[in-house]
Symmetry: C2
Subunit: 316 residues, 2 copies
């Protein structure tokens, strides 16, 4: 819903919160007192954009909200727009990192015309031989989580293409690791020999059975993941496993192996899963198998809360 639909008033947003990821762009118009006036999404994520396209895309999606004169509209941006191959590089904060300093480290990205003022929040990196890791966007969700759940102290699992596991104490990111579960699923299903078996729609009772079976196999012996992947193909050839079962098994195997390998991370206080509805359900099932009952937080809600908190930090 656009604010302009309600009473013909344009440009009533005080500022806009922007989550600009690899695949999607999401903006929220924020009014007085931090109220969300509207949200809009677009498929114009980083992966589809050349660096010089960002100002136009942002101006287009915010066109109804930009006043022709007066104070420019502030846009506070998190995510891959700040990557080297994005709009403008926002240098990483080093972990351990205090997320209260995110806003202070933001960079200003130029928008021609002077009606928009865009600031991009940094990501967080971890240095050291063999410990190297990076995140962009998740740091803002973590700041959001620390606002939504004050005094959170423990492990945050953030499933996605590149799943992040984070040790978070309040607003401090102690350390983190990226697990490529989502991307492994995508490339194996699209490009490997398993594509012949995994043509299922990703739902239904056979999918659920396959997922459960894969979860057990991966969770019980995560080190054997590369040796169990081929069971998807062999199961289709020899045991007449259906495409739905195979897709479910592959998904369960990968998530099970991820959770199984990260067992050492558990038992450090709180446990949260932050992500999209579909993924948090799958990871919740995997963690229940470990006897864990994580706090579930919607990924978009965490991003928004983080951008709100960063805006507050920026303004003191």
């Amino acid at each position: 819903m656009l604010a302009s639909d309600e009473g013909g008033v344009t440009a009533e947003s005080e500022w806009v919160a922007v989550d600009w990821g690899t695949s999607n762009l999401r903006v929220w118009g924020i009014g007085r007192g931090g109220h969300v006036l509207f949200s809009r999404t677009s498929a114009q994520g980083m992966a589809t954009l050349a660096p010089d396209a960002y100002p136009r895309v942002l101006a287009d999606i915010l066109a109804p909200d930009v006043a022709p004169a007066g104070k420019p509209l502030d846009a506070l941006i998190c995510g891959m727009a700040g990557a080297r191959q994005g709009w403008m590089e926002a240098p990483y904060l080093d972990a351990p990192a205090d997320l209260a300093t995110l806003a202070a480290a933001a960079v200003t990205a130029p928008v021609p015309g002077g009606r928009l003022r865009a600031r991009i929040l940094p990501g967080v990196c971890q240095r050291g031989d063999g410990a190297e890791d990076v995140m962009r966007g998740e740091e803002t969700q973590l700041l959001g989580l620390s606002t939504l759940v004050p005094h959170f102290s423990g492990i945050v699992c953030m499933p996605g293409t590149h799943c992040k596991w984070v040790v978070l104490s309040g607003r401090r990111v102690e350390r983190f690791a990226t697990v490529m579960t989502g991307e492994l699923f995508d490339v194996l299903r699209a490009h490997s020999v398993l594509r012949h078996a995994c043509t299922g729609a990703g739902q239904g009772p056979d999918h659920a059975l396959g997922f459960k079976s894969g979860l057990a196999a991966g969770g019980d012996a995560p080190q054997r993941l590369p040796a169990m992947l081929f069971k998807v193909r062999a199961g289709a050839l020899l045991s007449a496993r259906t495409p739905d079962w195979c897709a479910g098994y592959l998904s369960g195997l990968l998530i099970g192996a991820e959770i199984g390998a990260q067992r050492e991370w558990f038992g450090r206080g709180d446990l949260a899963v932050v992500g999209s509805a579909g993924l948090v359900e799958l990871y919740g099932a995997a963690m229940a198998r470990e006897g864990k009952q994580p706090l579930i937080v919607d990924g978009h809600a965490a991003s928004l809360a983080g951008l709100l908190a960063a805006r507050q930090e920026a303004r003191g």
Copy 2:
């Protein structure tokens, strides 16, 4: 070299041995006493062929050796030509499988014209919920190994796109497992975010350093493979790792994790690695790190020895 180049005599082969894999076709002309008269290769592997193309491709590559009249030329074939999506399905033998029975289970594939008689050897499968596995071509190499190394009893590691680990006692395949190391390397390097980092040529001192580092990381904690893959990307971003280093690290990480996860297989008598020159060198280095000194056998030599042994079985 064609036999016909030496003295103008055509069709002196008694029969031809054929290894017809996914990517390549390789034929050997066999003369009296099992001597190899010639070998030829072509890129017309199963992946490039429709079922009805096989007879023509085989007739073409063997044209100089097929006599216009008299006894038809026998071709004994192993590999993916016998898969369901190949020329003609040669049903699997079930493991535990006696490889002395391979020839008896071969199927006859039709070749129009009657100047060629083609027989395709079966693969071996392993049934049972969660134990499902298949091989095609490797069973013939295993029969070859049992001929080249009489009384071999132990573990055979057969690196490739789909690496096979086999418990072999003489000519008996006890059990086996497929590890998708080669295909994981291929799809990650071609289709994942790691493609940005792994543009190296796969050689040089940086490649060797990366391989060694990856081998240690994967071998020490194979269960953490999905969490270590991203280090390739993060190492390039944060520690200025070169494309050669990254490609070497990815290769070492995958092979190290494979060997590390298969540790339970070691210590069962003999140990052999059967494969191409490049791969057996990498796997040999990985096994040396485990204190193992495997017997190294060239993959083509094993295929040829297996086809010779199967021909002998077929003729009693």
